[in-house]
Symmetry: C2
Subunit: 192 residues, 2 copies
DNA sequence: CTCTCAAACTAACAAATGTTTGTTGTTGCT
DNA sequence: AGCAACAACAAACATTTGTTAGTTTGAGAG
């Protein structure tokens, strides 16, 4: 009974890796089946369609992000503290589930119709919550009075390279990574 | 005689827009032909293949970046000045040629064989030069002693949202944009 | 042993893909 | 007018695509 869920999970995991590597359009069901170790047709015993795979991966990520936002919003502390914690969790998901995050970042545009709308909406919700932290921080005098949207996208984009670049054991630990990124974004690169 | 170059340019420009919007794999030659205003087969009077289009777009961008690096390297001034100038030009190309930059950022992985290698090499060269500026700046005491690679990718990624987000007349001018981004990256978001 | 049922396979499908072929205007030069 | 080069077209191509149908396999339950 959980054998089925297991095989399904293997397919989803392998799909995330392949989509990250070769893109959604560049990955055929036969490619994926080869990686999983069965024929393409056999996978349809476990998944509904190629689109369903993409949807699962994208919404797994967006749901996690939104849940993290909700948690952080209800924490005590300054806006700076909250922003830092949200960013920390944001980076963490990339480190733990890099392939899925990569797919959600790059291949979401291949979602169809209502699912595409739904995903865009979810992303917008996350960005709105993120921006609110920045705006509140500016209003409270914690942050520089920059354009909040510019700051938001600068920060969110800044951390995107993590999923492209980071591999465990590359001389930089996850902690160092988080610290350096947050140091640059919050305190800047210039010494003064 | 320049009619041919003209049509070819139209195809390349339209391809950049479509690839940005729907991805390389998600754009068929018939889609593109429809946008250009001819049949798919007719385009082969102006271009060699779909791959050639992708190659042109990708290398146009990478060549420009590398040329800008070479120019800035030979300028006088501190490492901070050079970094600032290179970043300014980097952002500028995104503002002026956003679609092509988008393709080079997202669809380069569909390049084939030697072209793929070549592109990766070009990117590495650009990153190396960029990183050298940061390292020299740290050595000279101009910058915080962070990991140069982390700083490099944080900065390069941070500006990537520009091509995804920026549209002229969205309330933020190109100047404000550049200033705010550079302020955050160089001086940080936190007030102190 | 036999029945069952999920999960794998082979084979085939229709649709879409990038590209080639052969042909037909159309333009400009002599 | 006549030739040459170009640029558009329709039709077809071989392949690849995602997916379905029908069949076989194999393990567990009675």
């Amino acid at each position: 009974m959980n054998k089925k869920l297991n095989k399904r999970q293997i397919i989803l995991d392998e799909a995330a890796k392949l989509f990250k590597l070769k893109g959604f359009g560049g990955t055929s069901m036969r490619d994926l089946a080869g990686e999983v170790g069965m024929e393409a047709a056999s996978m349809y015993n476990h998944i509904k369609s190629k689109d369903e795979i993409l949807e699962h991966l994208c919404f797994h990520v967006s749901n996690t992000y939104i849940a993290q936002l909700a948690e952080v919003e209800q924490m005590p502390g300054s806006n700076g503290d909250k922003l830092k914690e949200l960013l920390r969790r944001h980076i963490n998901l990339m480190l733990e589930d890099g392939a899925a995050v990569s797919v959600a970042n790059n291949d979401w545009k291949y979602l169809t119709d209502s699912k595409l709308l739904q995903f865009k909406e979810a992303r917008k919700q996350y960005e709105k919550g993120f921006a609110a932290l920045i705006e509140n921080g500016i209003a409270a005098g914690e942050f520089r009075p920059v354009n909040a949207s510019v700051a938001l996208f600068t920060i969110l984009s800044a951390v995107r390279w993590v999923e492209l670049w980071y591999r465990p054991g590359r001389g930089v630990t996850a902690q160092e990574l988080e610290e350096d990124i947050m140091a640059i974004l919050l305190n800047g690169l210039a010494k003064n």
